[in-house]
């Protein structure tokens, strides 16, 4: 069965410092991996995705994520955090051979302190 784990409920980081939001997944076959962000009272916004190719994926707002097949991880990173990055982040996975059903993690709240 497909699953996504986001082990941290909350991540706290100071503005200007690098940030990492962790995600591990379980899926049969090759994964499609996604990160979404949710700001207060808004829907989920797409940040980036890994489909195939280069393991380092660059996305919106300076975020990037690295696909690590051996560790089944897809951690979200940003070199220098902004206060405006404070939001709820969701990792998601879909099996490349299993239809369109997407499995989401429980979310990680990122808090960037000025």
């Amino acid at each position: 069965a497909q699953s996504v784990a986001q082990p941290e409920d909350q991540v706290n980081v100071a503005e200007g410092n690098p940030l990492t939001v962790k995600c591990t997944y379980s899926v049969s076959g090759n994964p499609y991996l996604f990160w979404y962000v949710q700001y207060p009272n808004r829907g989920l916004q797409f940040l980036l995705k890994y489909i195939t190719g280069d393991n380092l994926v660059k996305g919106s707002y300076g975020f990037e994520a690295e696909f690590n097949k051996s560790q089944t991880s897809f951690h979200l990173k940003k070199p220098s955090a902004l206060v405006s990055d404070s939001a709820l982040y969701f990792c998601a996975v879909r099996a490349s051979s299993g239809g369109f059903k997407t499995i989401f993690g429980a979310g990680t709240r990122l808090f960037v302190k000025a």
Binding site: G43, L44, F46, T102, I103, F104, A106
Partner: protein, 114 residues
């Protein structure tokens, strides 16, 4: 281009009542998805439409939930009769027809069953 819209934004009903949620996908998107997030938990897949056909409804909790997409445009999700555990945020998403495409999410409907 208009995004995915959902109506209502909030709904408070009593146990046993009926509620109907509506989702208008991005124009031209054949794929439409319903998800639900219960407080603090993961976003759970409910079902997936391709045009007017249900492709995967494996996530529907029980037969109190009925989703329709007549004409392949907007979709409704009816809960009848509502129970306390149905409370949560119901998200709708849509995507174009082909590929491992990004899903575009609506702002969600917050449902509270008292």
């Amino acid at each position: 281009e208009a995004g995915v819209t959902q109506f209502p934004s909030h709904s408070v009903i009593e146990k046993g009542q009926t509620v109907t949620l509506r989702c208008d996908p991005i124009s031209g998107h054949d794929n439409l998805y319903w998800y639900r997030r219960v407080m603090g938990k993961e976003i759970k897949f409910l079902l997936h439409f391709v045009k007017e056909s249900k492709q995967d409804e494996s996530g529907m909790p029980n037969n109190r939930f009925l989703a329709e997409r007549t004409g392949g445009t907007y979709s409704t999700l009816k809960v009848q009769p509502a129970e306390l555990e149905d409370s949560g945020v119901y998200f709708c998403a849509s995507s174009p027809r082909t590929g491992p495409e990004t899903q575009y999410f609506g702002p969600g409907t917050r449902l509270l069953v008292l």
